[in-house]
Subunit: 477 residues, 2 copies
């Protein structure tokens, strides 16, 4: 196969970081821009984000959420109202100080997240318990002035959705926090084929201003962890700070309970690092913007007609498919489909046709299968897409499990991390000082607390005192 | 009908500006925010924008366009490369001068439009004629530091889509400019039921940096014009300024030809000002996020069952419908449906049911129709939605035509505008000085040049010299 693009991809096992940026570039997912730390999301990358939006948005709406749009800018005094939030975000925001050639009286920051704006809105719109719950979400861009950036994983501007809900009772808000984490979890597992784990952040790692934060953490091929979605329970903290109140059933003024939850374009980075290989991008069929490419080899009428007929059959059955009828060589087209991660490639050539055969190629395993043209193409394709989806999930799970370790003391933790990063299960006393100390081992951090898990041990992996929590640790992006 | 909300709506004929902001507020489309000149688009307003996006995006993709995402920020030196564009936009951009507590070496503006960013991207990605055309579009927020703002019509931040395409030949780029104007035109007419007119901007009114600008102009109920979408042909101007080149078939370096085209959330303002009335919002069925509301009067099992059954039938036939089963009174629900512009309201009450009847109410005409429950509800509803859509278009067209005038000289123009704003058809010599002079009459501007129109007269409406162009004039938002 003439895969010139292959030469441009560093091997995953030789230099993972370089391999990652090679995939991003060669599959035309994103490119650097003239603005330091900001990327251009190219059509191939944006199409993945559109699929993510489509699927998640439907789930959100099924659960009663509605979309809205808050302003991009936040006045400084509004941001300052909630102390922890400011301290958490102030060092990394961008400030607008000039508008229309005039110095502004009050500087405005570009939203790093929109809790403040939603609270400000709710404070003037909420009157009675009858208005509750408010289940709002927005799809937008946010900006955080990161020092080190990497396409999709950490960039100054990124796209995300942020849900912000308020409720009459704490129970209801907690249920919402939990429910949205479930939505993310199912999305990662069922659609992205990423076997993320679901838990609670420690006090140190939770969102600034939250009472607690739930998180989904995924393990990349190289054993490094990536946070893929979080859901925060705020209690009444923000509603007090922003004076959001409502009249309850007993006709008394009360502060409502609040949540927020978000996922970002970072998930595209996760998809790459879990599934892709040295031949380019590999996409699970359920998230792939195009699931099948048909490549006619030659211009014979019979070949063209069959290509069109298969395309039509698949399209009518809601399989997204296109014919690559560009002027390029078949070899180039094969490589192109491979680099771009199209789950199934159908090759239709003269020699095959003489034997009444066509060829299916799976992107994930690169297996070639010769198939009689009179089989039920629709069912065959559907089954193959399902198989690819399931196999990709299973392989990712096996990889995750093979990189999941257990440690009983610091020495064991060090030994594991010196060999290979991964998820390390270990008990913890709950003292942030132990978290700090563990961080000294190659920057290893708590990923999440797994509640209701049977303890591995009775003692903290770090200090040896009585253990309180079952924690998964890891090195993070 | 207990329409308390009605009391909050100023009459359209008494104070149009106040009526407009009342509708925006009472129908919960948008609200002012803590950031001067920026609005919160509330769920009811955002749902309209989502419908607009859904329909337009499908059209764009059908024509081969793909979506992407450029950065929010533009470095000052990049913006400065194209002189006319800078001069056009520099006075109204917002500048980021600080990022993460540090003064920036080079200030960054928040995009007022993204020609510069697309050119910058194309300049590094375009190689050969084989890469052309590039048909890119993005849905995003932009910011222009306007002094006077009004929800949807003019706000500092707004949402839009901006298409940016490059082509190997001038003919192809011109065809694209034209084609996208057609897409907008059809969308306004067929979906928004707004009979916009389509023409070319004068030199003075065209987009900064464009060779020419095509525009769709609509007339509001009060006779004031609103620009609803523009499509620009740039020739090679930007590709020269940003050094975008490609190797043509003859193996020579050449500058490609460029277009851009956009529509914004301003269309929501247009929808309101063309169709709504003193009872609230009126939405054409094709753009209404919810087309039908079913209001059960009372809690009888028979009523609830019938409501659910009708809902299911309509949903299965792709009619968007909901049941208002909140705890509010029927009168409140009627008013709510009316204020929110739901095209059809179905009332199901006990007394009607005893006679085997239910009641349909059209929002646009407020007509009530009693209907036998055994009719074909699906067809009846579909037909009524079509009728509403067509009738709304026809009424808007009649209103537009009744406010369209012809002038042969300045005196006539003045007389018309002193009575009533509207579209004024008049000939023009092409001299910008005449445009300036006409503007002195209540700020009246050229809306667009209608090409291929039979001249009304041989002489310029202003100076009396030989006329060159057939122009529609009007006072604008």
């Amino acid at each position: 196969m003439e895969n010139n693009k292959l030469k441009e991809i560093t091997s995953r096992d030789v230099d993972f970081a370089k391999w990652y940026t090679d995939i991003v570039r060669v599959a035309h997912l994103a490119d650097y821009s003239s603005v330091k730390g900001c990327i251009v999301i190219e059509p191939n990358g944006y199409a993945i984000w559109e699929r993510m939006q489509e699927i998640l948005d439907k789930e959100f709406k099924k659960l009663g959420h509605v979309n809205c749009q808050m302003p991009l800018l936040i006045p400084e005094n509004l941001l300052k109202k909630e102390g922890e939030l400011v301290n958490g975000f102030a060092p990394e925001v961008a400030w607008v100080t000039k508008g229309g050639e005039k110095e502004l009286d009050e500087r405005l920051c570009i939203r790093p997240t929109s809790e403040t704006l939603f609270c400000d809105y709710y404070s003037t719109h909420l009157k009675s318990y009858r208005d509750l719950p408010k289940l709002y979400n927005q799809w937008c861009n946010v900006l955080r002035w990161e020092k080190e950036t990497r396409p999709f994983l950490r960039s100054r501007e990124f796209l995300w959705q942020e849900g912000h809900t308020i409720h009459a009772t704490s129970e209801e808000a907690k249920k919402e926090t939990d429910q949205m984490m479930d939505v993310y979890y199912r999305f990662h597992h069922d659609v992205l084929a990423i076997p993320s784990i679901r838990g609670k952040k420690t006090e140190k790692e939770k969102f600034a201003g939250a009472e607690y934060t739930l998180t989904n953490e995924a393990l990349m091929y190289n054993g490094v962890s990536l946070q893929l979605g979080t859901s925060h329970y705020f209690g009444q903290k923000f509603s007090e700070a922003y004076n959001v109140t409502f009249t309850n059933k007993e006709n008394k003024e009360e502060y409502p309970y609040q949540t927020s939850w978000g996922t970002t374009t970072r998930m595209i980075g996760g998809l790459i690092m879990v599934h892709s290989d040295d031949y380019g991008l590999v996409l699970p069929p359920k998230i792939a913007p195009k699931q099948v490419v048909i490549i006619p080899i030659g211009n014979d009428k019979e070949i063209i007609d069959l290509s069109e007929s298969i395309k039509k059959q698949l399209l009518d059955n809601e399989i997204s498919v296109y014919i690559d009828n560009s002027e390029k060589s078949p070899g180039f087209k094969f490589a192109d489909a491979e680099v771009n991660g199209i789950p199934i490639r159908i090759e239709i050539g003269k020699r095959d046709l003489e034997k009444n055969m066509i060829t299916f190629v799976r992107r994930d395993t690169r297996e070639k299968m010769q198939v009689q043209i009179d089989i039920d193409i629709i069912n065959y394709t559907k089954k193959m897409l399902d198989t690819i989806q399931n196999d990709m999930y299973e392989r990712a799970k096996q990889r995750r499990d093979s990189l999941t370790f257990t440690a009983h003391n610091l020495k064991e933790m060090e030994d594991i991390l010196n060999k290979q990063p991964g998820f390390i299960h270990a008990m913890w006393c709950g003292d942030p000082k132990c978290e700090e100390k563990i961080k000294e081992i190659k920057g290893c951090k708590s990923r999440c607390i797994l509640e209701d898990k049977k303890p591995i041990d009775d003692f903290c992996v770090c200090c040896g005192k009585k253990a309180k929590h079952y924690v998964v640790w890891g090195i993070q992006y």
